[in-house]
Amino acid sequence: MLRFLFRRFLGAVVILFLLSIVTFLLFFGMPRDPALLMCGKTCNPASLANIHHVLGLDKSVPEQYGIFLHNLFFGSNQFAQGPCPAPCFGYSYHTNDQVWSTLLDRLPITVSLTLGGAVVFLIVGLGTGMIAAWKRGSLIDKMVTAASMVLSSMQIYFLGPLALAILVFQTHLFSKPAYTDFTSDPVAWFDGLLIPWVVLSTIFASQYTRMARSSMIEQLQEEHVRTARAKGMSRKYVFFRYAWRGSLIPIVTIFGIDLGSLLGGAIITEYTFGLPGLGHLAVDAVSFSDLPLLLGVMLFSATMILLFNIIVDACYAFIDPRVRLS
């Protein structure tokens, strides 16, 4: 098992490496010259060339990539903006802030949004899904199924603005989404994230409802579940011990994927609610052709996705002894 995880880990490192190359190349395909951004008001070919030199854009692409990798692992003192300890993604072209500290700075926002949302949608989604599976065929089940079908077809870019319009602008029931540090003001933190959580959870919860319901129903038809019932175990016991354990696998898989990609930047959600998290940072990085930032966010996002893939694999082992012991 450990060897397996170690192999997965190595694989993830290789993928990250390739990803950084792709992003690097992608950036050089971008139709804009980042130096123009820094060149400012009094731009002329000489100062542009100078900025190219300062940014290292006059070096060949492989060379630039080499420097990037070196800085990433060993840090660098070559930056005019100051020293850059490892992991060094350099300084943003646009804000002149250290990319790594910017990422760390924005991370709490995305983490708050994602984890808060995840707690709600996991509890609500799995809860309703299991109730529906338990009461399969009943009116409740039918209502839950229909509602989750419709809600899961909603998009954040519709539900978000709608929630804003109705709950914030029309009725003033809620505050407009904004981020406050939990440590500085927990109430404001909660207040500002409430609507994003609700919207994010509504859509995700309905997907988890559907998933939990169908995988519970599938599991309930498993032979070993029937065996457990044949042993005289109560329906509840069978439901929560036997069927539940089996239906965890698809749920954990999807949850890992969702959490990984959300933590790498819940782009549309953050954009819809104007929360300056990693996703928003990514959009900014793209629109400003901010290579160091873009690379940073990309690699960070991919790391999250891969990390959670590995965590999911580890969870499999936890859930399923067949995986653990093979």
Partner: protein, 305 residues
């Protein structure tokens, strides 16, 4: 199969709704002509009496009237009805193209990987792993300008079709993996089956086996997956346009309408507007997903409902 599908009332109704959407998309110019408007007329300048100075329709409910059935768009005052049907047209065209591209790629790579196996399978598998690790949304936004720039020099006007092609390419590149994986699995299973063995023994060429024996057998998962893929691509396309990297004004597009709907101008003054793209998209996606479920059930009646 067909009989079972026909008996599924939900499925039939869903299919009917989906067909209506396709019909609207196909006939959008005709409908607009009959209705007497187009989605490009700037009514805020043509009929300034209907708007305030910020371009918000003065009449309630976003200016819905006998003349403008779905009202007028805040801002430039485009006719919402024609904009919506043209927008559906744009979105569906793009999504259908992506779905086709993905299906073809999925078949090519998935079936090849599954059938040939060995190194080919391994390398395709690694490519799939690699692409799946991509932060896809992020990649979409990051690569849209690049892909657009591949087609035009930065100083020339970007024709709409270039954006459309770019949208298709970008979604296609990161969209084919799941289908390919499923088809690979199906092919792998088929490869071990007797009739394939028999065909092999009888000396049929691999191409013939794939064409005659394997392809007909992957139609089922293919059809089921495609009905799930298409609405997914519709929402992705809309999401990109929402983020401003997809289709832009004045080309009508579903997602771009959401982008408009999320401006504070609309949020604060005219929420009626956002219901038209919103509700129509929900209906479309729900109908398509229900259709997908029905297609799946029709092929595979065992699955739990």
């Amino acid at each position: 199969m067909w009989i079972r599908f026909k008996r599924d009332r939900t499925g039939v109704i869903s299919a009917f709704i989906v067909l209506i959407f396709f019909a609207i998309a196909a006939a959008a110019p005709l409908i607009a002509k009959a209705y007497g408007k187009n989605p490009y007329t700037v009514y805020a300048d043509e009929r300034p009496e209907l708007f305030d100075s910020a371009g918000v329709p003065i009449q309630p409910n976003g200016g819905i009237s006998g003349e403008f059935w779905f009202g007028l768009e805040p801002g430039n005052g485009y006719d919402v009805f024609t904009k919506l049907i043209y927008g559906i047209r744009t979105s569906l065209m793009i999504s259908i193209a992506v779905t086709l591209a993905v299906v073809i790629t999925g078949i090519l790579l998935g079936v090849t990987a599954g059938y040939v196996g060995g190194k080919t399978d391994y390398s395709i598998g690694r490519v799939i792993d690699f692409l799946l690790a991509f932060p896809s949304q992020l990649f979409f936004i990051a690569s849209m300008p690049v892909v657009v720039s591949l087609f035009v020099s930065p100083t020339d006007e970007t024709p709409t079709y270039v954006r459309v092609v770019a949208l298709i390419v970008v979604q296609w590149v990161l969209g084919w993996m799941s289908l390919a994986r499923i088809l690979r699995g199906t092919t792998l299973a088929l490869r071990e089956r007797e009739f394939i063995e028999a065909a092999k023994v009888s000396g049929a060429s691999p191409w013939r086996i794939i064409r005659r024996e394997i392809l007909p057998n992957v139609v089922t998962p293919l059809l089921v997956q495609s009905t799930y893929l298409l609405p997914n691509f519709v929402t992705i396309e809309a999401g990109l346009s929402f983020l401003g990297v997809g289709i832009v004004e004045p080309t009508p597009d579903w997602g771009q309408m959401f982008s408009k709907a999320s401006t504070e101008l609309v949020l604060q003054n005219d929420i009626t507007y956002m219901f038209f793209p919103g509700v129509s998209m929900i209906i479309f996606v729900v109908a398509f997903n229900l259709l997908g479920d029905s297609v799946r059930d029709a092929f595979d009646p065992k699955s739990a409902r």
